[in-house]
Structures are given as structure tokens and as C-alpha cells.
Amino acid sequence: MDRKKLVEFKNVSFQYEEEGALVLNQVSFDIYEGEWVAIIGHNGSGKSTIAKLLNGLLMPKDGEIIVDGKRVDDDTVWDIRKDVGMVFQNPDNQFVGATVQDDVAFGMENRGIPREEMRERIQRTLSAVRMQDYLITEPHRLSGGQKQRVAIASVLAIAPKVLILDEATAMLDPTGRKEIMHTVNDIQESEGLSLITITHDLQEIVQADRVIVMNKGQIWEETTPRELFLQREELREIGLDVPFVAQLTDELRKQGVPLKEAALNHEELLEELWKFNSKM
């Protein structure tokens, strides 16, 4: 397949303090154009450090990071931040503007985008995250999920090539979580950008094209969600939870029900069981 590499991590290591432990240890991976990659791992596995390295909020100690052909360093960092948009965990601590439209404008203002263009993009991106009715609402009147959707719109407004969600759902209630996953799905389809979602919730990786599992600063596994769901014991060992569907599939196999693949959701599992049933 002739896909364009958008992000390259080449043997990247990182530590916060000179003598401190390596937070990332020789990490290498590629991310392609239009691809959705989930990075998963327990707290402290180094997954969030990857996000910060990707847009130059941190610089690697060893190795190099290439984004869209440019090596991330102090000279390119501002260009790279245009290509790599990021949504953080805490909905409150990334809301800069006095109102929703001011917040979406903030990134564009920083890049000197003319006012008329800004107005247009605000309308467009807020519609994309279904927040167009909240143009002049103040942040303390929004729910966590709404604030995160505004944060996504703010990033989309600068038309990045990669969107990173760094545990963007971790502080939300289930409703907010659903809103965000829904929004992310829409956007991935409509905007055609590369998506990196960082999470510790295996439910949130189901739709990703590829999963990178982090453990102790290293890549533990690079695979598809389907394959990953088969590795039940191993996941538990590195502090992750196995989704219900995968657990049940596993148990059914032990009972001698010959299920072929790991199911990703209820419907797939029911379908598999149905096939088995009609064969008997």
C-alpha cells in the first residue's frame, strides 16, 4: 500500500530529570496519513509523554521525531504545532477564551488569521462538533463534554494534519465520554486527518485502525484492536482491563465453542454464536 508516513518516531528516549528513570525507552513507530491509532497503557506507562513530544512541548533526549517530513526541533516547533493539534485531559485548564467563540479563535489569532476567515472557521468547526448554538456561552456554563468538544473545534480551526486526544475523556462522565467518541468518529470520517487517541480505556480503541500498547516506557505491542482483545492475561498483567466481550469469547472457547475471531462488540459475538448454532 502506498500510504504517506505522517509521523515517524525513531528510537526516541526521554527522561524528565537528568538522572531520572527513562520515561520512554527507544520507542519507534510510524503513523500514516488518515489513520486512527490508539495508544494505550496504564498511568505512568509513558503514553502521554509521546503526545507532548509529538508537538514539541517536550524534546527527546535521544532519537528523532519527524512530522510530515520535518524533524521536530526548536526551529521547526512552531510549524509543527500547526500540523499537530492537541486536546488535553482537563476540560477547564485548556479553555483560554472568555466565551466559546473566543476560545476557538485563540489558536487562529496566534497565527494571525484574518477576522473574516476566523468567523467562517469558527462556524464550520463548531458545527462539526455540534456546538454551533453556544457561540457566546461562557465556559462555566458548559459541561465537561461540551468544553472538550470546544477544545476539539479549537484544534480543527487551525486545520492540523494530526489530531491528538491525550486522555481527553478521562475526566468526563459517561454522557460526556459518549459525546466525545461520537464527535471523534464524525471528524475522522469528514476531515480525513490522522488521529491519535491516548487512553487507558479499551472500550475507546475499538474503532481505531491500529493500537500501540505502552508499558514501562516501551512499546509492548503494536497490533489491531481485534488481535489485542485476544491477549487477555497479558493485558491484565500490564494493568489494563479486558472488555466484557473479549472475556466472554475467551470463556466460550474454553467451553469448546469454536469461535474464530475475537469479537469487538456484542453484535459480532452474537453473529458468531448464531453461525455456530446453525452449524450444529
Binding site: G144, A170, T175, G239, S278
Partner: protein
């Protein structure tokens, strides 16, 4: 301690233009020693309800009895400090309340305020540390140097050190990774059983409600929407759907399974292998007909 709400309403900023009903005509009983899950969306009145459990808020109407304590609109009872000692509240993101120089001092802060002797506090801390999964060495460190998960445990220890009889938990696992979530909930459940606590868990997680609670109370827009045993509450999928609440995954799956295969499997707390066996049995029976 038994907790009893009798027709409790709470109105924020009553008699102002900003007045707003947070709780309306709420009645329920939590038996001593039981584990109750309170479920509802953000803004359903859960947080307000919690504040009534230790007298941080007093009902605008109706009355509350917690053990021998009586709360009503007539003003704070004199022994409110006793109530606060006996009802330990672990608020959401409890690590935000840490402030002392050392972990030991922070854990001791609550009991000290309630006049517990230092010797007794030390004894409690010694027993508590293994229970919350913290090493002894941590006691002399600054709470601000710890990892997120450790901070949470310290904060929880600070509440448990008050030796409460009622434990109120407001989404105690929010923001933790799956392993952390499981460890914290298991810890609370063990404490609940060992010390015969009365536990009120406020949660968004239907899975936790199913796994731990022996009663569920569902709040919606400040009113009690449902109340009952988890298995009974979760039988009413449509009623839950009306207020945008889902089912625990296992029950949801069995419902779908039953619909597709025309069976009537029910969830009775079977462990996963047991469940798989049952499903397989039904499949075999079905195919012979």
C-alpha cells in the same frame, strides 16, 4: 448506622431570584451495614444528596435521620461534629484536599480535629496503611511528591482514619486507570465487609453498582426515579433508557442474546465461566429441536 430520608427537599438560595430546586421530595432508607449505589447524571442532585449525609447542607423541607442524629430545616444540631466524625466522606478527586507537609500529618488531620489522641491515631495509621495499599516509608514524605494514585490513597486514608461508621464515596475511582479503579473499589468493599460499614457509593458506573451494591437508588432531576435491588432495577431496561441510563454490560448482552436466540437466560451473579457454560448449554439444546 441507619440512614433515613423523609420527604427531603433542598432549594439552593431560597427566596432569591436564583432559587433552584436541587432535591424534591426524596424518601428512602439505607439499612445499617448495607451498600447502596446512588446513580444519576451530572446535575441529578447526587452531590447535593451527599452533602446532606454529614450535615454540610440541611434539608429545606423534610427530615433526615442518621443513627441518632436528626437533621431538618430547624438548624444545625448541636452534635454536628459527632455526625461528621461518624460519617466519612470521600469526595471526588479527594487528593485535591491534601495540604500537610507529610503524609502522616495529612492522614492525622481529620482525627486530630475530632480530638483523637496522637497514640490512637498512630495505631490507626499503622492498621490503615496496608489496607489502602501504601508502604510505611511514605509516611514522612510530602504528599505532593507522590503519584496520582498514591495521593488518592493518602486522601482516602485521611478519611478512614476518622474511623467512620458510614462511608460516603463520591465517584472514588474517577480518573484512575483500570487497575487503580479495581484496586480502590475492592479495597472499599473489603473495608465495608470487615468493619461492618454502611456505604453509600455515588457512581456513574453500572458495573460497579451491580458488582457491589445491594440496593440502587436512581436520581433524575432532583427526584428519586427508581429504587431497589440491582437485579430488579436492571430488569427495567426501558425505564432506565428513558433517562438515558444504560445497563451493566453483562445484562445488556444477555438481553440481546435472549432476543436473538429466543432464550431466557438471566443474570444471577454467575461468574464468567459459569455464564459461558450456560450459553453453550442453550446453544446445544436449541440445535436439537
Amino acid at each position: 448506622m441507619e440512614i433515613q430520608f423523609k420527604d427531603v427537599s433542598y432549594i439552593y438560595q431560597e427566596n432569591t431570584p436564583f432559587a433552584h430546586k436541587a432535591l424534591e421530595h426524596i424518601s428512602f432508607t439505607v439499612n445499617s451495614g448495607s451498600f447502596v449505589a446512588v446513580i444519576g447524571h451530572t446535575g441529578s442532585g447526587k452531590s447535593t444528596l451527599i452533602q446532606h449525609l454529614n450535615g454540610l447542607s440541611l434539608p429545606s423541607r423534610g427530615e433526615i435521620n442518621i443513627g441518632d442524629f436528626h437533621l431538618s430545616a430547624d438548624g444545625k444540631p448541636k452534635n454536628i461534629r459527632d455526625l461528621r466524625r461518624k460519617v466519612g466522606v470521600v469526595f471526588q478527586y479527594p487528593e485535591h484536599q491534601l495540604f500537610e507537609e507529610t503524609v502522616a500529618k495529612d492522614i492525622a488531620f481529620g482525627p486530630k480535629n475530632f480530638g483523637v489522641e496522637q497514640e490512637e491515631i498512630d495505631r490507626r495509621i499503622e492498621k490503615l496503611l496496608p489496607a489502602v495499599g501504601l508502604p510505611k516509608e511514605i509516611l514522612e514524605r510530602s504528599p505532593f511528591d507522590l503519584s496520582g494514585g498514591q495521593k488518592r490513597r493518602v486522601a482516602i486514608a485521611g478519611v478512614l482514619a476518622m474511623a467512620p461508621q458510614v462511608l460516603v464515596l463520591d465517584e472514588p475511582t474517577a480518573g484512575l486507570d483500570p487497575r487503580g479503579q479495581r484496586e480502590i473499589m475492592d479495597m472499599f468493599y473489603q473495608l465495608h465487609q470487615e468493619q461492618n460499614l454502611t456505604t453509600v457509593l455515588v457512581t456513574h458506573s453500572m458495573e460497579d453498582a451491580l458488582a457491589y451494591a445491594d440496593k440502587i437508588i436512581i436520581l433524575n432531576k432532583g427526584q428519586k426515579y427508581m429504587e431497589g435491588h440491582p437485579l430488579d432495577v436492571f430488569k427495567q431496561a426501558e425505564k432506565l433508557q428513558e433517562v438515558q441510563l444504560g445497563l451493566p454490560e453483562v445484562i445488556h448482552f444477555l438481553n440481546q442474546y435472549n432476543e436473538r436466540f429466543g432464550t431466557s437466560l438471566t443474570y444471577q451473579y454467575q461468574p464468567m465461566p459459569e455464564l459461558a457454560k450456560e450459553i453453550k448449554k442453550r446453544l446445544e439444546v436449541g440445535s436439537h429441536e
